[in-house]
């Protein structure tokens, strides 16, 4: 039985003392970042207060303890996505993970005539690193068309992919519209053409169970802070042989076995070869606790609950005549809306004045013209601790959403 009120007690940000503009805080910007349960905060603090030492080759117990924990958390992450421990690289977050694949694998292997496929719904972090690969290698970038709703379909992947395609980089759940794509089928198509599938899991990992073996994706990136963990820690998963075939984009302490004055370096095996410099150790402690936390509730349960919340919200918001919903049928916990004749940023300010945290944003030109037909939208995104009561507050506030200047008077 999913007990959301019990869950809320785990989060200091939800203890009822935090107000936003004098109103009880209603946090609906979970696609941006999530609040942290106490166990995560305590785990980070445990590093600083009890076990503060650097990892790698410490000759004393304290340092050894840190090494053991880093190893344990790596194992936890691996189990969480059904990977091997050696396939889990710690990064600062999704952006760094994708940049690592782009520069370490893309720049290394692609050449003129090769193609990278993206979609128009990708986050900037899954577009700009590939632009760089294009600039450096002369390869081309093309876009898999989305369907009328803004979804990526297997059909359209099949229509677009070709013998020159070397990399397909897509989000499992897109950050604006929240559609879940059929990664498993898309991976099959990619592999038939000899392309690799680079998956952006930033918006999927916190909300749906992900099994990299089953999906057969080649790389997967995600951020700790979107799954109730600390900021500044993230993960890159890669199939081991692909990681071996990827160059580190940072070198330094911790990623080499030995080197000499002539410039000969032998790098360590993955994942260590990508982890030059001191890792975000407190972040790793916290990430481990975050994974334990969601595991305890169960990813299936979380997904089910968030869908239930979403359906409840959509069914209520649909009754508001002044509202445009852009993604009624999405699977992720994201609802993208506008109040008619109100600029998204003004609506977000208005919601803020009533205690509700959402994000307004503009979208790249393509998706805007083809699907949304607007410059900007308001994004509402759920987390495992949101409640129907919070949606009721949102609903009541949006009812009067046209009076957005109330925020200033």
């Amino acid at each position: 039985m999913y007990d959301v009120n019990k869950i809320r007690k785990d989060f200091p940000m939800l203890d009822g003392t935090k107000l936003n503009q004098g109103h009880p805080l209603v946090y609906l910007d979970n696609a941006a970042t999530t609040f942290k349960p106490k166990c995560v905060i305590e785990a980070c603090n445990r590093y600083y207060e009890e076990e503060c030492a650097n990892s790698h080759r410490g000759d004393y117990d304290l340092a050894y303890k840190v090494d053991v924990t880093v190893d344990e958390v790596r194992n936890k992450v691996a189990k969480f996505i059904n990977a091997k421990k050696e396939e889990v690289v710690f990064t600062s977050g999704t952006s760094m993970s994708i940049n690592l694949v782009a520069s370490g694998y893309g720049v290394k292997h692609l050449k003129k005539g090769d193609e990278i496929l993206l979609t128009e719904a990708e986050h900037a972090s899954n577009v700009l690193p590939w632009f760089k690969v294009k600039e450096m290698t002369g390869c081309s970038i093309n876009y898999i068309p989305l369907d009328k709703e803004g979804r990526l379909t297997v059909e359209n992947v099949k229509k677009t992919i070709n013998k020159n395609t070397k990399i397909v980089a897509i989000a499992q759940i897109t950050n604006v519209l929240g559609y879940l794509c059929d990664v498993k089928e898309i991976a099959k198509v990619c592999h038939e053409y000899g392309a690799i599938l680079v998956l952006d899991g930033a918006q999927s990992i916190p909300h749906v169970p992900v099994d990299v073996k089953d999906l057969d994706c080649d790389f997967l990136s995600f951020s700790g802070h979107k799954i109730y963990g600390p900021t500044g820690i993230g993960v890159l998963y890669g199939k081991f042989e692909l990681l071996q075939d990827t160059d580190p984009f940072m070198s330094g302490g911790g990623n080499n076995a030995r080197f000499d004055m002539c410039g000969n370096v032998s790098f360590l095996q993955p994942p260590a070869k990508f982890e030059a410099g001191t890792l975000n150790l407190a972040g790793i402690y916290g990430l481990g606790a975050a994974i334990d936390y969601v595991n305890k509730i169960g990813m299936e349960e979380i997904h089910k609950y968030e869908l239930e919340l979403r359906n409840y919200a959509v069914s209520k918001l649909k009754t508001l005549q002044n509202l445009i919903i852009y993604n009624e049928f999405a699977e992720g916990g994201i609802i993208t809306i506008n109040v008619k004749d109100v600029f998204a940023q003004d609506e977000a300010s208005y919601l803020n004045s009533k205690g509700i945290c959402v994000r307004s944003g503009e979208h790249c030109a393509k998706i805007l013209h083809d699907f949304l037909k607007t410059m900007a939208t308001v994004r509402i995104s759920f987390g495992l601790y949101n409640t129907k009561e919070e949606i009721d507050v949102l609903y009541e506030t949006l009812k009067n959403g046209g009076d957005f200047l109330d925020a200033y008077f």
Binding site: Q21, F343, A344, Q345, D346, S349, N352, S353, S360, G361, E362, M375, A376, F404, L405, A407, Y408, F409
Partner: protein, 149 residues
């Protein structure tokens, strides 16, 4: 009665300048204008300010781009306010406007209609919006873009 005593009037002024911003267009003889693009890093606002200046007097001020209500109307009001004024006068007006935004002493008579933004501090995330146009103008006229605080 002062504008600032009448919230309804203040709303109306903001909405008028948002729905029908008469200074929101690329000027016809754009080559005679100095321009600066003000692309907010913290929100959607992305506007370009155009200023035509002769003998220390701002003859015309326009803007164009995509922006929220607060940014659009504050910039439109600013354009009205500075037209025909000397740089010294504008510096004084801008100084008072920023003082108002940051809850310091200001002369309401000097900033005229721009007083409708006196509540911006209540929505701290919108301070950028209410000052984006003004910062652009200051950058063009005085070569500074640092926000007064």
């Amino acid at each position: 009665m002062r504008i600032s005593d009448n919230p309804l009037l203040m709303r109306e002024i903001i909405m008028d300048h948002y729905n029908d911003p008469i200074n929101k267009k690329v000027p016809e003889n754009v080559s005679e204008y100095k321009q600066i693009r003000m692309d907010s890093t913290s929100c959607i606002d992305d506007i370009t300010i155009y200023v035509k200046e002769k003998n220390n007097v701002v003859e015309d001020c326009k803007f164009d781009g995509v922006a929220c209500t607060i940014c659009t109307s504050s910039t439109d009001i600013m354009c009205d306010l500075v037209k025909g004024k000397t740089k010294d006068e504008i510096e004084e007006i801008a100084h008072n406007y920023f003082n108002m935004i940051y809850e310091k002493e200001y002369d309401e008579d000097l900033i005229e209609e721009a007083v409708v933004f006196k509540n911006t501090y209540k929505q701290a995330s919108r301070i950028k919006c209410a000052t984006l146009g003004w910062n652009g103008l200051k950058a063009i006229l005085f070569g500074e873009e640092n926000e007064e605080k």
